[in-house]
């Protein structure tokens, strides 16, 4: 069973988004449910402005995150697949197809989330399937097969 993904925190969008709007949209379920505060999103932007898009994991996957003390109430994640690649910090060398925003309330509960991200997105087959997924169910089934 996936620790990250369920039907309430996976979304797809056709919209043309700026990188900040994509991250905000991805994080919306976490904000709405009180997992994170607005300050957490702001801290992601601030860090990116300071050191560049550190959360670009490569291969079109971005995993925006910051530190627990920046505004995390409860460990959680959300996924947003964008049909039109979003350029991180408006930089052509950082096109993103999938955003996974996560927040950890301490220094260890996110480890399972990262392990799962690594297992799913580190697998070329699954990565390709997620990038070509047309709906929520397709994405959910790829994660569910990772047990």
């Amino acid at each position: 069973m996936s620790k990250i993904i369920n039907k309430d925190n996976v979304f797809l969008t056709d919209k043309d988004l700026t990188w900040k709007d994509a991250i905000k949209l991805c994080a919306k379920p976490l904000l709405d449910d009180g997992y994170i505060e607005d300050s957490y999103i702001e801290s992601i932007f601030t860090q990116a402005e300071k050191m560049g898009p550190y959360f670009d994991f490569g291969q079109g996957i971005a995993v925006p995150h910051s530190r627990p003390e920046d505004g995390v109430n409860k460990t959680g994640a959300a996924l947003l697949k964008v049909n039109k690649p979003v350029l991180l910090m408006d930089d052509k060398s950082h096109p993103i197809d999938v955003f996974i925003v996560f927040g950890s309330s301490d220094n260890y509960s996110h480890i399972d989330i990262l392990k799962e991200i690594s297992n799913v997105f580190g697998n070329k087959d699954k990565l390709d399937k997620i990038k070509s997924a047309n709906n929520k169910d397709e994405i959910l089934s790829i994660f569910r097969n990772e047990d």
Partner: protein, 94 residues
Amino acid sequence: MRFMAICGSGLGSSFMVEMNIQQILNEMEVSGVEVSHSDISSVGDNDANVFFLAKDVAENVSLDKSKVVVLDSIIDKEELRVKVEEVIKKYNLD
């Protein structure tokens, strides 16, 4: 022999790379290598023999370049495997 995975945020991406390096070393049956992780603000040249960094972070770091291995993607296990193998050969760890 010490390997260290480095990320920018100090929260977890480096830990993920550390786990993947460890997994690859286990698969290659290489022993005697200690793997750990850190973030760019805390790391020092003497902390390890080889540092694995994501491309963006690598640009901002002031570590001895001969000890640095740059990763284009920190979730691409195949890329990591190739680079770990190169390091193993370079230092005769197999």
